[in-house]
């Protein structure tokens, strides 16, 4: 029983990380029709800059205010990086979607190389508040506290995104843009501004998720972004492209499935099963769980 609880909660924690990456990817794809392969880079850079804050804080690194600053720095770094990428590269390739994807692939590779150049290829321990490293007992299961932090952060992000999408004019434009962006432009709305905003939002969430990922693993490495990105893409497709709620459900489902399968079979089988689940969902519901038919025209 305690094992089941432990697997479920750590699975939800991992799912929370998937969600932070996948929700941004999903919105970016939904509105801009770009599969952003540089998304892992936003996560990695955010994680490393958060790490730098922790390292420079020295003895204070284990205090809560420093933790908050780490998260903020990760989020801001991701936002700024995404803004630069969108304005300097993506926007110049407007309506040339294949080229946009190729640019993001190249950026993803270059970013990993750059991070490796600066911080080295080795895994580094992540400074974190001492509470995070401890465990809390839930019906006999010793659950690492960092899982609760990840889950709480993701729930807050999910609620904030829902509010943004449902209650604000920007959200209205994003939801309409996911359905038919040329019609949004034909209503006199500057879709390119929305593109930049959505890209920045996605980058910010990834940078924020980077700090949490490093905390979850209590370590960080240059490959951390890409290894998470693969599963985030699977989550996005299973959840339905452009759907935030779909991403949230799929993220939890994929991560828990993965945790259980990896534990009860051999490590690695869980990853395979996730891919099998992706294939199954695509066969049964080609639009993903949210079932929305994304217009590709």
């Amino acid at each position: 029983m305690s094992t089941v609880i432990l697997l479920a909660v750590t699975g939800l924690g991992l799912g929370a990380l998937y969600f932070l990456v996948a929700s941004g990817l999903s919105l970016i794809y939904g509105v801009m029709r770009i599969l952003n392969f540089a998304h892992g880079a936003f996560l990695t850079v955010g994680g490393y800059l958060g790490y730098e804050v922790g390292v420079h804080a020295g003895v204070h690194a284990r205090s809560w205010p420093v933790f908050v600053v780490m998260l903020a720095v990760g989020a801001i770094a991701g936002t700024i990086l995404a803004m630069l990428v969108e304005i300097l590269l993506i926007r110049r390739l407007y309506q040339r979607e294949i080229e946009q994807v190729l640019v993001t692939v190249g950026l993803g590779l270059a970013a990993v190389a750059l991070v490796t150049g600066i911080w080295g290829p080795d895994t580094r321990p992540m400074p974190s508040p001492s509470w995070m490293a401890r465990t809390t007992s839930i019906i006999g299961a010793a659950v690492p506290n960092v899982c609760f932090a990840c889950i709480a952060a993701s729930v807050v992000v999910l609620i904030a995104l829902q509010f943004l999408l449902a209650r604000t004019r920007y959200g209205l434009i994003i939801r309409a843009g996911v359905e038919n962006r040329s019609m949004v432009a034909a209503l006199g709305i500057d879709v390119r501004r929305t593109f930049t905003a959505v890209f920045m939002l996605g980058g910010g969430l990834a940078g924020f998720g980077g700090v949490l990922t490093a905390l979850y693993n209590s370590a960080l490495s240059p490959a951390m972004g890409d290894s998470l990105l693969i599963f985030a893409f699977i989550v996005v497709v299973i959840g339905g492209l452009g759907s935030v709620t779909g991403s949230a459900i799929a993220a939890a489902a994929v991560a828990i499935l993965q945790q259980f399968a990896n534990y009860y079979t051999t490590s690695g089988v869980g990853d395979l099963i996730v891919v099998a689940a992706l294939a199954a969902v695509l066969l049964v519901r080609p639009g993903g769980l949210s079932g929305r038919q994304v217009r590709l025209a």
Partner: protein, 272 residues
């Protein structure tokens, strides 16, 4: 129609002529050229109907005016060039677009569809595009209220269905959402693409009624296959064949010439 036209003229004495002028317009979809040297004018009042068989480039012409497809040529709206501008700027200058197949946002409610269409930013542009009308109206706020009232009056069905997702509406109701989106703003011209396509005869009449009311305020370029609707609404026609303009002139004369109508459109006049 004529009475309304005269009233409009009284408000806009400078406006005996053209609202939208298209010169040597070429347009492409992918690598295929769809429009070849298309030249025509849209009168600054009433309805100008854009006619032609399926696939001659009527929809592409409207999309080219809005910059939604790659195009070259000179396009002037109220005597200023718009062909170099991105779609949203062209629209904000004062063009309302009612696309073929309605293109309402199915996942958004009726109210959200209409909110999205209301152009708050138009205020700034109005001073540029309509200098001669600045003193004619009380305030922007009153004007947009008046527009909302007009839309509510024309489409009472939509008021009742404000909270309903537009994707669950019937074809006719979706068409009304699409028309309402264009009528909510104070436009210089409306581009309306096959508004009666696939609708029941009774709904066709309702849509035509709405267009007739709209045309009293705003000139319309109307793509329409239903010649009965064209006969009822249009003052002038522009007829296209194979991506080119084959004929343009007053509507009644064209529709009366059965042989020409059959030759250019492949149908006899007045049929539905």
């Amino acid at each position: 129609m004529t009475t309304a036209g005269r009233q409009d003229q009284a408000v806009r004495p400078e406006s005996a002529g053209t609202i939208l002028s298209v010169r040597s317009l070429n347009a492409w979809i992918g690598t295929q050229q769809i429009l070849h040297d298309v030249t025509f004018d849209v009168a600054d009042r009433g309805v100008t109907a854009l006619l032609g068989r399926n696939g001659v480039g009527k929809t592409t012409t409207l999309r080219a005016l809005l910059g939604l497809v790659r195009r070259e040529g000179v396009i002037e709206l109220a005597s200023s060039r718009i062909d170099g501008e991105p779609t949203h700027r062209i629209v904000r200058r004062g063009i309302g677009y009612v696309p073929e197949n309605r293109d309402v946002f199915g996942g958004l409610t009726v109210a959200e569809n209409l909110d999205l269409a209301r152009r708050h930013a138009l205020k700034r542009h109005r001073a540029v595009t309509r200098p001669s009308r600045r003193g004619d109206r009380m305030s922007t706020c009153g004007e947009s209220d008046e527009r909302v009232q007009l839309v509510d009056r024309l489409f009472p069905d939509l008021v009742r269905r404000r909270g309903q997702p537009a994707g669950t509406l019937s074809g006719g109701q979706q068409q009304m959402v699409a028309l309402a989106r264009a009528l909510l703003n104070d436009n210089l011209a409306l581009l309306v693409d096959e508004p009666t396509k696939g609708l029941a005869p009774k709904v066709v009449d309702e849509v035509a009624d709405a267009l007739e009311v709209a045309a009293r305020r705003t000139p319309i370029l109307l793509v329409e296959q239903d010649l009965a609707v064209v006969a009822r609404l249009a003052d002038r026609v522009v007829v296209m064949t194979e991506g080119q303009v084959a004929h343009s002139g007053p509507a009644p004369e064209f529709l009366a010439d059965r042989a020409t109508v059959r030759g250019l459109l492949g149908v006899s006049g007045g049929s539905r």
